[in-house]
């Protein structure tokens, strides 16, 4: 099994989620993160103080998938998260040694 971790713009989360649902993916875990990259930030002004905001809010999506479905999942995410502007984000793929569903103690692909 693989863990697909994508860092996205907030605005694209809904489309990504729909693309994954369309593939029959049944679960995912999402968290708030801040990203630093090529995308230019903003300058924040507080009275006399100026701060360059280099960390922009992004959303991180984690989806565990069976090996056989990795490619279509990657394509679905990349297709639906893309706006073409700098800052669209990245997808990272990890190997997953084991998955357990806590409720049933099912293991491996059955647990997804």
């Amino acid at each position: 099994m693989k863990m697909v971790v994508a860092v996205l713009r907030h605005t694209e989360l809904q489309r990504v989620q729909e693309a994954l649902l369309a593939l029959g993916i049944q679960g995912m875990t999402v968290s708030e993160v801040k990203g630093f990259g090529r995308q230019g930030g903003y300058t924040e002004l507080y009275r006399a103080a100026e701060y360059a905001v280099r960390f922009l809010p992004k959303v991180k999506v984690e989806v565990a998938v069976p090996d056989g479905r990795l490619q279509e999942v990657l394509q679905a995410i990349q297709g639906s998260a893309r706006t073409g502007q700098v800052g669209d984000g990245k997808i990272f793929v990890y190997d997953l040694l084991q998955v357990i569903r806590i409720r049933t103690a099912e293991k491996g692909e059955e647990a997804l």
Binding site: T11, Y42, E44, L45, Y46
Partner: protein
Amino acid sequence: MRSATVLASVLLLASRAWASEDLSAGDTAWMLASTALVMLMGPGLALFYGGMVRRKNVLATLMHTFVILCVVSVVWVLWGYTLAFGPDRWGLIGSLRWLGLKGVGQGPSGYAPTVPHLVFMAFQGMFAVITPALVTGAFAERMRFSAVVLFAALWATVVYSPVAHWLWGGGWLSNLGALDFAGGTVVHINSAVAALMAALVVGRRRGFPKEPMPPHNLPMTVLGAGLLWFGWFGFNAGSALASGGLATLAFVNTNTAAASAALGWALAERLQRGKPTALGLVSGAVAGLVAITPAAGFVSPLASVPIGAVAGLLCYLAVGLKHRLGYDDSLDVLGIHGVGGLWGALATGLFARLTLNPAGADGLLMGNPSLLLRQALASGAVVLYSALATWAVLKAVGLVVGLRVSEEHEVVGLDLSQHGESGYHF
């Protein structure tokens, strides 16, 4: 001789008492307090709206109301007050005689003979502030800041001042006999129609209505509603322009209608969707406050119960319309202030009783249908004028500074893109 001296001193006393009766310390105390209370409705409204938008736009939304408090306060002192309340010209507008508050001083005025002219001016100024501030709910989360500033200055001048003059400054609608105790027509119908125009001219938010846009901080909205309710006591009971029985009547009606309307809205939610909500409860309270506004000094506390309850119900039904009709009046100015204000204007025509306020009239339930007609007419006139004039103001603002931020800035949020700030660093 002794008797003469006594008499003389009694007369002296009499003249002093007379003079101090001209300007009443008690009435002035209440009008000062009321003016402060109405000012607090500004921050109250800012929070009420600010909690309902998405996190990325919270500061911009707060600033809308705050900057209008600033802009219109200055405009009012310079030229707004004289346009609205200066000596009447043809029933349409005030003359420029009181430009820059010339002649508006510490002595009384014809509008309120027991309090300083300046406090009447300040009290009315807070109404001129809150009315365009209400409009900002329609174009939240996408309007340029400079457009808001310009809009407020123009709209207060071109729309608010004349309409206030028509009903309160001796203009044609008051001569017609229409009643508006504290601004159901001048403030609420007026701002709601402007809001609809703004929603149409400015256009929908990106993503509306598909994308979920839940309120980012409802406790903030509840706090805002609490401050609005509190401030509304000044708004309505202060509109008696004196302390005393009439102010008290308006005060009691205000509280009763707000309470009834909140329950009405919550009940409707419960019946239709199974769950009363916090946003519904406070929205209902505001709807009731709106509806009782024109009626507050003309109806009995018992009448405030149905006036409020119906307001809660009607406004609950009305806020659904925008999804069906497709305009994006983001924070429901039309659904709450328009529908509530119109219902209140008509309810005044139904429930008013001359015995409660000799400056009022009898309504339909007391056997006088004509008042209802006059209320409808006044509302209609304001709807028409406000729609046209607001449209013109928006077009002018659009030409000068542009109404809307760029799509990229809308996505990032107004706080960061327009103001270089984030609401929260948690």
